[in-house]
């Protein structure tokens, strides 16, 4: 596919225009301006676009009916992470400066670059595929009101035959990534309170220390190796097909360890490491606090102790059931539990139109085989779309690479990868609509 000089200029101009509008969801800076710009641009492209207010930042929602039988739901977010530390940036973060074939800006990769590439591909698309564009403004602060928006447009949205999520981008070798799903999540806060105030630790022999009580709970949840919650592993589904996908991933264990800044990993073998990262559920402690943690010594027994923990789930674990078991354990020890996030794991079948078209279009755009992951190691709000009854959901097509510095200073995208993402999107729209795979 060859774009003309004029087309490329237009693509870049729109990319820069969009990046120059700050849209920091954490502070609200520029959010409304960015949403307005986006709505206007979508209208220019013939999309029936509107700004949908939520309790937080608005969703920019657009529909385009091209008269076909299939509707693609395109999900992205127009909000970005804060820019600090500002002095880490070579160019002002909203200057969209171009240097040596790269564009530098907050949001260049995550996620404005991918969003705009998909819209620019739409501007060149001549086929019959229908579109629902859902561009939210709160992804970087936890998609707080996305569920409420989806619920309010449930009927229209549930007619979508497939969803493409925010975008997986390219790997270190610039191979396009196709991610078939996400891990689920159970995030809880557990508190044990044993008294009204801290007491002198000389009474330790006769009172209950809330940290020891909390550790009893934690010991019932996890043995340091395996989760002990009843039925936790029962529905973990690992097929041969999925394992084979991971065989293609090569990961340098030493490099990976270095990139995380950790002193050791649970696996020395690359295959085992990759398998655990993508296919194993986990039980993580995010934070814990009780009592005196300042300088020196203070001899008290605290009155309460609190832990925050998250479980990453894989298909077909059920977050609700796991939460209920957790609740049972915590309450049996007179603790309190607060759910702070329950998300379903999702994994789209390899043998679906959306995956076939994604593979086919990736090959056309990049002349390389894509890397297919059974799911992300993390969680995205895929479950919200799954709950609409849609069973073809993937995260793919993106402008970024692992060195794009998402969430960090000097976020950047190679312009060539931006144009490739437009190309990839366009091939995908065509292949998905026509069922015509290479």
């Amino acid at each position: 596919m060859e774009f003309s000089k004029d087309e490329l200029d237009f693509f870049l101009r729109k990319y820069q225009e969009f990046l120059k509008i700050p849209s920091v969801s954490a502070t609200g800076e520029g959010i409304n301006e960015a949403a307005s710009w986006l709505k206007e641009f979508m209208k220019e492209l013939g999309i029936n676009a509107e700004i949908v207010k939520t309790k937080g930042h608005p969703v920019v929602y657009g529909k385009a009916d091209n008269g076909g039988n299939k509707t693609l739901l395109v999900y992205n977010h127009y909000d970005v992470q804060p820019v600090d530390p500002l002095n880490g940036w070579k160019y002002p973060p909203f200057s969209a400066t171009i240097s040596n074939g790269y564009i530098f800006a907050r949001g260049a990769s995550d996620n404005k670059g991918t969003l705009i590439a998909r819209l620019l591909a739409f501007s060149k698309y001549k086929g019959k595929l229908n579109f629902n564009f859902v561009f939210e403004g709160e992804e970087e602060i936890g998609s707080i009101n996305l569920g409420e928006f989806i619920e309010s447009r449930k009927e229209e949205l549930s007619k979508s035959s497939a969803v493409i999520m925010e975008g997986a981008g390219l790997d270190t070798k610039e191979r396009p990534m196709i991610v078939l799903g996400v891990k689920g999540l159970v995030y809880v806060q557990i508190t044990v309170k044993t008294g009204e105030r801290d007491v002198h630790s000389s009474v330790a022999p006769v009172i209950k220390n809330p940290v020891w009580e909390l550790i009893k709970i934690l010991n019932e949840i996890y043995d340091g190796n395996k989760v002990k919650i009843k039925g936790f592993y029962d529905n973990v589904k690992i097929t041969r097909e999925v394992e084979e996908l991971l065989d293609k991933i090569d990961l340098d264990v030493e490099e990976y360890k270095k990139s995380l800044g950790v002193y050791s990993l649970n696996f020395e073998d690359s295959k085992e490491l990759v398998s655990a990262l993508y296919l194993s559920p986990s039980c993580n402690i995010d934070g814990i606090i009780a009592g005196y943690v300042g300088q020196g010594s203070k001899t008290i027994a605290p009155s309460h102790a609190m832990v925050k923990m998250d479980f990453r789930l894989v298909p077909d674990q059920n977050p609700k059931k796991i939460y209920e078991e957790l609740e049972r354990i915590v309450k049996s020890h007179n603790g309190e539990i607060i759910p702070m996030g329950l998300e379903k794991p999702v994994r789209t079948d390899l043998n679906t139109a959306v995956v076939k078209a994604m593979v086919s279009s990736a090959n056309k755009a990049y002349s390389k085989d894509p890397i297919i992951l059974p799911n992300a190691a993390g969680t995205q709000p895929m479950g919200l779309f799954y709950d609409l009854g849609i069973r073809e959901i993937v995260s793919a097509i993106g402008v970024g690479t692992p060195s794009s510095n998402a969430h960090a200073p000097n976020e950047n995208v190679k312009l060539e990868n931006f144009y490739k993402a437009i190309e990839h999107s366009l091939y995908f729209y065509e292949d998905y609509e026509s069922n015509n795979y290479m």
Copy 2:
């Protein structure tokens, strides 16, 4: 024993003079003035007194040679707790206001009242007992430099035949308390560090979470009921004689629970509760921290976790051996341990001159049997004197009761109890010197 009106006036005048000088060790307010006043007053009483500088607040040290065979070491502290919250006080905390037979002042009970009572008794003493007075200025901030002082005067101090500590005061029924010892202490800070920085919790399946690692350590130390450290209970010594002492203590379990503000106690039976409080060692968590503990959810695996914990020890547990076992466990899990206090448990034998004289003099002064405790539930720097080779150490004679509000606003002492403490001291000096017990 009857004191004249003039004598009583003199006692009270000196008590008030002393209380009117602030001596807050936490801030240093008035410390030097209080030390100077004390030295001058001791000199007036014919004591060879000096101010001994330390790295912190000075010790006021005095010797009185009356030509006898025995030397009594009298330990007290002239420093006091801060006065806040100031608006909780009925009278200014350094006004030493007298109201309805009570004196109100910070330090009235803890510990200036007892200190001055012992000196005033000395002013009336005509016998041959020799004295070493050690009045420190840092008790309320952890007796930081007391060990250094004792070391510097080791030769003189180790000639003392007995030590009376800060003073146990009276119980709720105004019976004099004699406390034969203290629990020991091992206070440690344990840290586990697994990486250079927090990482996203999506990598939880492959990395080590420092909180789970710390919990492995804690599980090797304590099973929620018993300490698992090798040899921990081997030297716990509970004699029938000691158990019988506790039989005399009646403690209302419900009242006690209420006073601590805790929701439950490990014992419902008063006898079991008292036994555990005084005779059981304990393993307490003072504080724990790791990762994100703010509002809402943040999905990270922390880079490090820290716990502070204390063990209260009973005779004849050895803090050094226990610390060494702890160190072995912590290091086997790649953790770091810092000792923040190792103190020996001490328990003076019932069949000693100091105890016999204390019981005899208590009976004379109060016309009541004293309550004898095998040791305090807490820790005082008794071990420092024990290390001098002295085997007769008790905490007894004091002006306060449980309602004296030590460390709180409106600290107070009933004047009658102040005069009784002078009387008790004087009888004790006489009985101890003469071996003439009632």
